[in-house]
């Protein structure tokens, strides 16, 4: 019996419009495979590589500045070469991608969990509540998120001592990026909530005296969350870029637990002396990661919500 239900399920899935659209978009398939591989490499880093590049005890200065394996002087033990302190580049990229992904995803979760409630409240209540929230969002939208994130980071750096700051750098960065990018989610959710609140099922819910909070959470939220989550996918790519930029500027992730941006910053100073691989491979990984996530986000948007295009 079980086999039948699985094959039924499979028939349902494979007949579905979404599956059709996915299978007929080779770019999306490639982007999805690339993203899955990068996730696996990032979060499986401790199983997949024998190197622990950021353990101070494992520095091998004799193996410093080793070029990639296929270049002259390269060694197959270090496929993508080593940096100025003999750390394996491939392993550093795997751990770095992990940090970039964690910061990117968590900060988008934070923006979404600020933006969606405020958007629903603004759209559902309307009136001055709406004006107040959206005016604030509009003002914040005119300032680039990277500047807001820099400001928040600067303030925490001022209030905390440098040792404490080093420990809380990642949470601070997640909060900075998260707080800097909530307005766009609030906007999308609000426009959805404004449409929903005029519908009959909301009137019905009010009629049976459902508490307002319950209407918003149980009835409005499920109906407006879709478009927001699709935009959030692209938001992850944006957040990864902001994180990498801040780390590249030297105000993001410290070099004790480097992200891709930090790795690029470290490698950048060796570019002139010809050790291109130290900065090239992290930069390449970052670009592929961002491009793949963007492409998946574009596909999701076009498939589930063509109106947003």
């Amino acid at each position: 019996m079980k086999d039948v239900s699985i094959s039924k399920w499979w028939a349902g899935v494979s007949d579905h419009d979404v599956t059709y659209s996915f299978l007929h978009s080779p770019v999306t398939i490639v982007a999805t495979v690339a993203t899955i591989l990068m996730f696996a490499a990032a979060f499986g880093a401790s199983f997949l590589t024998i190197y622990t590049p950021f353990d101070p005890g494992s520095l091998e200065l004799r193996e410093a500045f080793m070029p990639p394996a296929w270049e002259q002087g390269g060694n197959s033990e270090h496929l993508l070469g080593t940096d100025g302190q003999g750390r394996d580049i491939l392993a550093a990229i795997m751990y770095g991608t992990q940090v970039s992904l964690v910061v990117g995803i968590l900060s988008v979760l934070l923006s979404v969990s600020i933006g969606i409630p405020l958007g629903i409240i603004a759209g559902y209540y309307g009136g001055w509540v709406d004006t107040a929230i959206m005016r604030f969002a509009d003002i914040q939208l005119t300032i680039p998120p990277i500047l807001i994130a820099l400001m928040i980071d600067g303030i925490t750096r001022t209030t905390l001592s440098s040792e404490v700051h080093e420990i809380v750098a990642i949470p601070v960065l997640i909060i900075s990026i998260g707080v800097a990018s909530w307005p766009q989610y609030a906007r999308i959710t609000r426009s959805g909530a404004m449409v929903e609140r005029r519908k009959d099922y909301i009137a019905a819910a009010k009629l049976i005296q459902t508490p307002t909070a319950a209407i918003m959470v149980r009835h409005v939220l499920p109906n407006v969350i879709g478009p927001t989550l699709i935009v959030a996918t692209i938001g992850v790519a944006v957040a990864i870029i902001i994180e990498a930029t801040l780390s590249f500027l030297g105000v993001g992730i410290p070099s004790t637990t480097p992200s891709l941006g930090t790795l690029i910053r470290i490698g950048n100073s060796f570019l002139f002396s010809g050790e291109w691989w130290i900065t090239f491979f992290p930069a390449f990984t970052l670009v592929i990661l961002v491009l793949s996530v963007n492409l998946i986000g574009d596909w999701l948007r076009d498939t589930f919500n063509p109106k947003l295009r």
């Binding site: 003002i139 820099l150 930029t245 590249f248 950048n268």
Partner: protein, 325 residues
Amino acid sequence: MANFILYRLFQSAIVMLIVALISFFLFNFVGDPISNMVGQETTVKDMDELRQRLGLNDPVIVQFGRFIVDALQGDFGISYRLQRPVEELIAERMPATLELVFVSAIIAIGLGVAGGLFTGLKRSHWFSKFILTTSLVGISLPTFIIGILLIYIFAVKLNWLPSFGRGEVVDLKGGWSTGLLTVSGWKAIILPSITLALYQTTLILRIIRSELLEVMRTDFIKFARARGLKSRDINYGHALKNTLVPVITVTGLQIGSLIAFSIVTETVFQWPGMGALFIQAVQFADVPVMSAYLILVALFFVVINLIVDLLYFVVDPRLRAEIKN
């Protein structure tokens, strides 16, 4: 019209006041300004005297009033790190940033409008598809990676252009130093301005294209064709004119972002501008520089938004008519 301008000026003043308030709190309550100004051997008594002299014992509202008055006179205090007046530091570095932003804005608007027109008017041309694909890659590449790539190709490998600095600068009257009068200055600005302009170019290109596609579908364009007007007149006289309002909005906002994004470009190319100053201020918790930069950038944004609003009246006769009634 005058009413509208007054209203917008009032709105801008409120935004500036809010920014000034944030910046004031940053200045006065984030960390202890006194301990940042004095050395370690200063006694408690000296510190109290300094506190009294700087007026830090006054009520907050009095301090805020003084902060505003000082800021209006261009006095932002002394940098903790460099021990020099902040306004001096900023005045020294402002020309570098503004020249970079100016050249980038011209590149972004020029290429963006040209590319947007081409891709919007000749949708199926192979070159349009090429431009659109390239622009997608342009959006996915972080600014600093574009900068590193350009440095590696044109400075390290080909050795055509310098990788850092402004080149030779000429001091003009009024304390403005310009790099735009020397050959080395022009060579130095090429890579940073392209890096800074690329993202904005793609955004302007895409907005013009999508607006053009929208306008080209409207009845008045079909009617213009039916009247047998030349396609050049239709394209530039009717279609382009009607895309201007959203295009001006986006372009205005993007010029504002150029100032903010110059932080990244200036760091990559070691460009001696305000952005580089700001990054150092963040790294060293130099609060007076941070708060002055915040106020200055907010001022740029407010002024640009105001100009954008006024431009609406120039390009859109409907708005003028609406205000008259």
